[in-house]
Symmetry: C2
Subunit: 146 residues, 2 copies
DNA sequence: CTCCATTGACTTGTGCACAGTTCAATTGTG
DNA sequence: CACAATTGAACTGTGCACAAGTCAATGGAG
């Protein structure tokens, strides 16, 4: 009845929501959401990025990112500005406050690791499976988009 | 920097969204969302359920389920009614149209399996890892709720 | 140079997800 | 019985996620 495939998807759905829940708790002191944190991580590790490039990293479109970035800007963590040599592109940069968060939040990954209670080998194996799965499913999604 | 733990969570997040995307495509003929489909699967396999019990199965609260069930009711797939011996409880039952979907949609799991392209052994292994992870993280989430 | 297709971001509208609140029905306790 | 505590559902408000549409800037092709 409910195929194994259905069940794999539900496992993913449930696991994803429970880890997001864990982040919600850990990020509460900064009043940041998990997607907002992901954007900050991207900027911390790669420097200023266009909206498009952030979207490539996180597989999110501008419909999701525009309001999210507006909130981060309003709170003083990032600035946005159109690129002078191509006015279509909006570059997102960290402010000093945004940079400062990097140090402030350096314990976050450890806290998350703690509540996942997973060894590094198991973590890598799981990530490999998930990446492979995501790649296949995304390929299928894009193929049928045409 | 970005710990392996962060990366596991992002893998989950990305994989979950890509499979939801696959469902969106497969479910399009019926104009159903993945969470709506999950509720129907629960009712197909277990018969009438209270809102609370559906929430237990899917780890969703009434804030999510109430509007979702209202949409399914408005479209004629389920009915809702307060239980006579305990007026607090709302039981959700399939209509004939809702039952009929079960046959109509029997190809859905196969279609999902196809675009996941994963063997049954790999699927079971992945599910086991995900269930274990979810259980640990949920335990951590509930512990800190107190 | 002139169109025209493409690109990048934004906006609009719908539907989850979830915290927090409200409220009535029920249950437990003195 | 009275009454406090609990339970089940719904509602409110915020923030993703994403489809679809708009619009200005850009980059060809003729």
């Amino acid at each position: 009845m409910a195929g194994v495939d259905d069940m794999v998807c539900f496992s993913l759905y449930a696991a994803s929501r429970s880890t997001t829940q864990a982040y919600r708790r850990v990020l509460r002191p900064w009043d940041l959401t998990y997607p907002q944190y992901l954007v900050l991580v991207a900027l911390w590790t790669e420097g200023p990025l266009s909206v498009r490039r952030i979207g490539d990293r996180l597989a999110l479109d501008s419909g999701t990112l525009s309001p999210l970035l507006r909130r981060l800007e309003r709170r003083g963590y990032v600035t946005r500005g159109r690129r002078s040599d191509d006015e279509r592109v909006v570059d997102v940069s960290l402010t000093e406050a945004g940079e400062a968060l990097r140090d402030e939040m350096h314990e976050v990954p450890r806290q998350i690791a703690e509540c996942m209670g997973i060894g590094i080998d198991a973590a890598r194996a799981l990530m490999d499976s998930l990446h492979e799965l995501t790649a296949r499913v995304q390929a299928g999604n894009e193929a049928t988009a045409s």
